[in-house]
């Protein structure tokens, strides 16, 4: 806060917000831990983080859709009246049975605005956002970009002080997303929208650097704000500008710092490290990433931001793969770079069977759940065990959705490694086809 800006109350303050998902007695998932946020007038603030970092939860708390377990969302009183918010959704959230015009009017209707007023304001918003001519179309007749424009018009028409956006462009293709971002930034810089500030959630690092004045980087599991980055580049920003690239690199490095990794990494959780939530990453994707980093021009060490650009991955897609490799001791993340271990380099050069045995070794040595299942199967005379048993064990540490996802991930990796097999019909692990 510099003393240059006139002293004015912020639009909204989140104070020590904490949120737990799950039942009061059972296993809880801490998604937000002690998060503070202040949103001032005339700024675009980005909440950047991995999925599961609680950034959407924070946004929904501010929108009033979720009541956080602890902490407060405060709208300080302002001279122009109460602060209002409106939200744009990742999935657009349009009513398929209403036309574009009716969709835009829906918020005004709920507020009890007179029909003629309603029509006038809706048409103005439609005009502003570039939807003229589509008033009578149904959402299913529109392309994704046009649908999100409807979502924007619907959010703007109620004259909110703050526009909340939950990954507004992530369901769109690259070109459409870029057009929409530019249009929105133009409207913003020309002051043609009635809003005072924008708060947006994203997992796309470049998008955050392109649009935001301030970026809050979140860690995941639990979600915390690990750093706040001020973006001083003048608008319009150029992605190829060295300063821009520099900032993107810096954020990648931030997000791959060791303390960013899930807290459960090295068996910090009780129970032999079983409490680790594992992402469902395909073994083909892992092999592909190893081969890419192994080959020229990277030769075993590749900056994450370059990888993301080359492979057309978003940070949020790339991180789980890299982390899984790290878990299997096939790679390490250092200062925003992905560095292959010698084992991974051997893997890259091996044939199919040798790859499988390397993978099996790493899996059983470093993934506690895989080792645990294998040990149980070895111990039993029948070499069989119901999967539900392991699912129940996992549910002591995590929600049933995560337990299911984790078990599926390990099942797929073990099938590839031929460490043990799984019969879907009987929901049972066995050593039958393995070995």
């Amino acid at each position: 806060m510099t003393c240059m800006t006139p002293v004015q109350a912020p639009l909204v303050e989140a104070k020590a917000v904490r949120h737990l998902y799950g039942k009061a007695e059972g296993a809880n998932l801490l998604v937000l831990d002690n998060v503070d946020l202040t949103l001032n007038e005339n700024e675009i603030v980005g909440l950047l983080g991995r999925s599961g970092s609680g950034k959407s939860t924070l946004l929904r708390s501010i929108a009033g859709l979720i009541k956080p377990t602890a902490g407060q969302i405060v709208f300080p009183p302002r001279p122009e009246g109460p602060t209002t918010v409106s939200m744009v959704f990742q999935s657009f959230a349009l009513f398929p049975w209403l036309t574009v015009l009716q969709n835009v009017e829906v918020g005004l209707e709920a507020k009890g605005v007179r029909p003629d007023q309603r029509r006038k304001r809706a048409l103005a918003a439609i005009d502003l956002i570039g939807l003229d001519g589509f008033e009578n179309a149904y959402p299913k007749e529109l392309s994704g970009g046009m649908r999100q424009r409807v979502g924007l018009a619907r959010a703007l028409v109620v004259d909110p002080s703050i526009l909340l956006m939950d990954e507004p462009f992530s369901a769109l293709d690259v070109l459409t997303a870029e057009t929409l971002r530019t249009d929105l930034l133009d409207l913003w810089s020309e002051g043609r929208m009635p809003i005072k500030s924008i708060l947006m959630v994203t997992h796309n690092i470049e998008e955050a650097v392109l649009m935001c004045d301030r970026i809050l980087v979140f860690s995941s599991n639990p979600g915390r704000v690990v750093s706040t980055i001020k973006v001083d580049l003048p608008q319009p920003r150029n992605r190829q500008d060295p300063a821009f690239r520099d900032l993107v690199e810096r954020i990648y490095a931030q997000m791959t710092r060791p303390d960013q990794a899930p807290a459960a990494r090295d068996g910090v959780f009780p129970g032999m490290g079983l409490g680790m939530v594992l992402p469902r990453v395909s073994t083909n994707v892992m092999a592909g990433l190893i081969e890419t980093v192994h080959a020229d021009p990277f030769d075993g060490r590749a900056p994450m931001s370059d990888l993301a650009q080359d492979l057309q991955y978003e940070a949020d897609e790339l991180f789980p793969i890299a982390e899984t490799l790290q878990l299997l001791r096939l790679a390490e993340m250092r200062e925003g770079d992905l560095v292959l271990t010698p084992t991974a380099r051997r893997y890259a050069e091996a044939d199919v069977d040798a790859r499988k045995s390397i993978f099996a070794q790493q899996l059983l040595a470093h993934v506690p759940l895989a080792a645990h299942v294998r040990r149980v199967l070895d111990d039993r005379p029948s070499h069989m065990a119901p999967a539900s048993r392991f699912r129940d064990e996992l549910e002591d540490f995590m929600s049933s959705d995560y337990a299911d996802q984790t078990l599926r991930a390990v099942t797929n990796w073990s099938r590839y490694a031929e460490a043990f097999s799984y019969d879907e019909g009987a929901d049972r692990f066995s050593l039958e086809d393995a070995v």
């Binding site: 209002t84 939200m87 657009f92 049975w97 209403l98 709920a110 507020k111 009890g112 109620v158």
Partner: protein
């Protein structure tokens, strides 16, 4: 949606003409005349219904073809009144179940059981009850008939509405909460539109089943009270009593005309209208069409009429929503203390338990005074006989219709033409056709224990057929091409392509068919032709006889045992098959 295919790509010159230009003036006139005629018919029918009961005896049902249109009208009106009652029931009870966890605990299992109870068994109780309610007026008997139809329609509609309410997409829910929708606006803007497609489908299924019961419930004999309400069902029962084959044929024809008219004038327009509520983000290529819907939509005055009607509604909702919008309701209600919540739960469960105990005691005291354990044993044996019939007949019907359905489904040209016919047959009340079969059995002196059985699946087998057709047409063409490339033939083709492809559809069809067959057994196992009475030993004929004798204890026992059989059958056979199909054979 299985049911909603139809003559999709059919050429409809009227609609196409209307599409191209401005609205022709005659569209207004035609639409107006149609609606006005409907209004007059409804008023006429309603006037007739409120006549005193004596009028019924003064002008008994006659086999005069001139009266037939009136009878048909009365029958149809009963159907729609019952449908209205079912809709009201659906909106209140299903909403309650979806909004309140306590109500849900009770309502959902109750609906599940009520879906499986043979509704024809209720007639005994309801006729007595409603006649007592409106002594000396036709209205009582009318209500009993309408209630019988209601009981065949309401449960699955309520169930579908409940399920829709539970699966409202999270993002739309958030939008409506974020904009602070009032409960009424939430219902009209979100919940009702979202639930409409599956509700319409269930209304369709209910109506198909309903024709069967309206025919069965118009001519009721309970103990020594015999009432024949003017309607197609009574026409048929008089015709049967007089062994008048020509009158039976005329009645069947009238029924066919009603169903076709109903399909064209009601079902198709509603389905075409409901299409806009389908929750999909991309427009489907094939959209259901209806010439009447196009006509009504294009006529200028229906539009202005609907706007006029919408106005008072809109101002009403404004009045309720006119309060200054509360900014961001952070929490709708402070959560009660968990301990208090637990106490409330406990109280509720105790209340339910006490009511349950009271109910059991009541049942026991009612039944034990009139029945012995011998009765229970006898009824269970009869139940087994009917079970055997249902199983054998569903198996036979499957053996016949699955290959035919697959053959048709794989040929789109045929499927398009035959699918509406299969649906028509499923909606056609099979009991209308019984006299022909019965007359044949009597004439040839066949064994009723065997030859009456096919009547049970006569009306319900079509569900298997049209579901299999839908399933076979839904097999993706790349799968068919792959099967062709690798030369899959014979049993391997059936085992690996056709059967997995149609299985989920087949289970849906067979489940509906078997449920319908249990119900049909009550009218199919005991039939008459003039003064010839044929009877097959089974639970259905037991209930039918007890109803005719006015023996309510035995009716109750029969209905209870049949419900147990149906529920057990569903739980042990159909539900696991359904789960298996959902899990393994869904073409994602």
């Amino acid at each position: 949606m299985v049911f909603l295919s139809g003559d999709l790509k059919a050429t409809r010159p009227i609609a196409r003409f209307l599409n191209t230009g401005t609205v022709p003036k005659w569209a207004d006139l035609v639409a107006f005349l149609l609606l006005a005629a409907c209004a007059v018919l409804v008023v006429r029918g309603a006037e007739d219904m409120s006549q005193p009961l004596a009028a019924l005896h003064a002008t008994p049902v006659t086999l005069d073809p001139a009266r037939l249109p009136e009878y048909a009208l009365r029958t149809t009106l009963r159907m729609f009144l019952a449908l209205g009652a079912s809709l009201i029931f659906t909106f209140t009870v299903a909403t309650l179940a979806a909004k309140s966890r306590k109500a849900e605990l009770l309502i959902v299992p109750a609906l599940d059981i009520l879906q499986s109870v043979p509704v024809l068994g209720f007639l005994t109780f309801t006729v007595t009850f409603f006649m007592g309610l409106f002594p000396g007026r036709q209205l009582g008997v009318e209500c009993a008939a309408i209630f019988a139809i209601f009981t065949s329609q309401a449960w699955n509609m309520a169930f579908s509405f409940y399920q829709s309410l539970r699966t409202i997409p999270a993002d739309l829910d958030e939008v409506s909460r974020q904009f602070g929708f009032s409960p009424w606006r939430r219902f009209t803007r979100l919940e009702l539109p979202f639930a409409t497609p599956s509700l319409v489908w269930n209304v369709m299924m209910s109506m198909s089943g309903g024709w069967f019961f309206v025919v069965a419930s118009e001519a009721i004999t309970v103990g020594d009270t015999t009432v024949t309400l003017p309607g197609i069902g009574s026409w048929l029962s008089v015709a049967i009593a007089r062994q008048d084959m020509k009158a039976v044929a005329v009645g069947v024809g009238a029924m066919a005309v009603i169903i076709v008219l109903y399909d064209q004038l009601v079902f198709r327009p509603v389905v075409a209208w409901a299409d806009k509520f389908r929750f999909e983000q991309t427009a489907s290529q094939q959209r259901p069409a209806s010439w009447l819907y196009d006509l009504l939509r294009r006529a200028a005055w229906t539009r202005s009429l609907s706007q006029t009607l919408a106005k008072p509604l809109a101002s009403l909702s404004r009045a309720t929503a006119g309060l200054p919008p509360v900014r961001l309701p952070m929490m709708r209600l402070p959560k009660p203390h968990p301990a208090l919540g637990r106490v409330m739960d406990l109280l509720w469960l105790t209340l339910v338990a006490v009511t349950l105990a009271g109910g059991v005691w009541l049942l026991w005291s009612f039944l034990s005074a009139r029945l012995t354990f011998g009765d229970v044993g006898e009824v269970s044996l009869l139940g087994l006989a009917t079970l055997l019939r249902v199983v054998v007949l569903i198996a036979l019907a499957s053996l016949i219709w699955v290959p035919i359905g697959v053959w048709i489904g794989l040929r789109p040209a045929w499927a398009e033409r035959l699918q509406p016919i299969a649906q028509f047959l499923a909606a056609f009340p099979a009991n209308v056709m019984f006299p022909f079969a019965v007359a044949t059995i009597v004439a040839l002196r066949l064994n009723p224990n065997i030859w009456l059985s096919p009547l049970m699946v006569f009306g319900t087998q079509w569900y298997i057929l049209f579901n299999v057709i839908a399933g076979a047409s839904a097999i993706p063409s790349d799968l068919k091409e792959a099967a062709g490339m690798f030369g899959l033939k014979g049993w391997q083709w059936w085992r690996q392509v056709a059967i997995p492809g149609i299985f989920p559809y087949y289970v849906t069809g067979a489940l509906t068919a078997s449920g319908g067959s249990w119900n049909a057994s009550i009218v199919a196992e005991a039939v008459s032709w003039g003064h010839e009475h044929l009877e097959a030993a089974g639970l259905g004929s037991y209930i039918a006889k007890a109803t005719a004798a006015g023996d309510s204890a035995r009716v109750a026992l029969g209905v209870a045992v049949m419900s147990v059989f149906v529920i057990a059958f569903n739980r042990t056979l159909w539900r696991p098959m359904y789960r298996y199909a959902e899990r393994r054979l869904r073409l994602a």
